[in-house]
Subunit: 188 residues, 2 copies
Amino acid sequence: MNIRENIRPGGRSARVQASVHKAVRDLLSKMDRNEVTIPLIATEAGVTPSTIYRRWGDLQELLADVAVERLRPDAPPKDTGSARSDLEHWAEQYADEMASGPGRAMIRDVLSSVGADTRNAGKCCGYTREQVQAIAERARDRGEEFPDVETVIDEVVAPIMYRILFDDAPPTSAKVLSLVERLFPQRR
Amino acid sequence: MNIRENIRPGGRSARVQASVHKAVRDLLSKMDRNEVTIPLIATEAGVTPSTIYRRWGDLQELLADVAVERLRPDAPPKDTGSARSDLEHWAEQYADEMASGPGRAMIRDVLSSVGADTRNAGKCCGYTREQVQAIAERARDRGEEFPDVETVIDEVVAPIMYRILFDDAPPTSAKVLSLVERLFPQRR
DNA sequence: CACTTAAAAGCAAATTATTTGCTTTAGTGA
DNA sequence: TCACTAAAGCAAATAATTTGCTTTTAAGTG
């Protein structure tokens, strides 16, 4: 078979990507985000600035790329015994993480990259959907009632995110619980 | 009274601000947003780049400043006879405007400015709240039932915005109507 | 295991954007 | 009208970005 696949060499790629990502994370933890520049990242990562420019285009794209990685959940939602409490637990944690300083900064980075190709924001939304999906599936396996995933996104995730992004006050824990409550027809 | 108020001269300010804003709007309508640079804006506006750098700091802040202005509603929500239809009408229009190319770009600009001082995103949220408030007040004057403004934000505005920002598919008209429907206890 | 290939990295010069110190201009209040 | 000061202009210095060209390196091939 000799139709040349367009998988091409480019072997150092992974290594460079890893060291650049690490450099970004390190610098971001040490200094103010608008002091971080591409030449600085390049030096820290031990690569040439032009490498970064050519691979990522600009700082925004690079920051978005790093942020998406960091926003990827590292574990499925905790199993607390019932779907409702799984969701409560997950939503509170989600709200906390996203409302934190670094969380907000990462969301901003993701949203402000235009990257029509990369669809960064879409990826984040996808991670969230997967998490909710996992809770929903556990509910089904247990034979519990559980709302549609899209409904959970509309009624729990969206308000949390809207308040974090646009409002001065991030949602309190009580607020998050009340959002979840609306989804469950009757008492506990 | 001679305690010097800290209102200081700075008279050309308004004129410069107007011409810079106009230049930004004009350029944005003519070319791709990432071809727009501060030196270009400065030339178009007939000012010096350093003036812009000193007043706005960087391109993001300037774009955010212009975007906030443009996102300000120019009229109160249309009075269509009933609160529910006012809200339906307003929400559909809001969703359309925000989901459009320019709408999305403006939201992105607003969100990606850090401006801890300016609170750009907060202003936008404020405009939205005012619009919903106006509908709510009309409802009250007519003696109609109407949900709490914050509830409308959680259940209608937030899902619309979340889907526009994070999801690939902006909300359809039917989707928007179904969001409004949930807020009204029973049939029309 | 050479050896070829092409994507990705390095390098450096050219271009462009940003910052900064100093000077000038023009509203404002006396 | 005059003095005052915030904001604008100007230009030199610095920093970031782009670009053409060369070099390196992981794969795939024989």
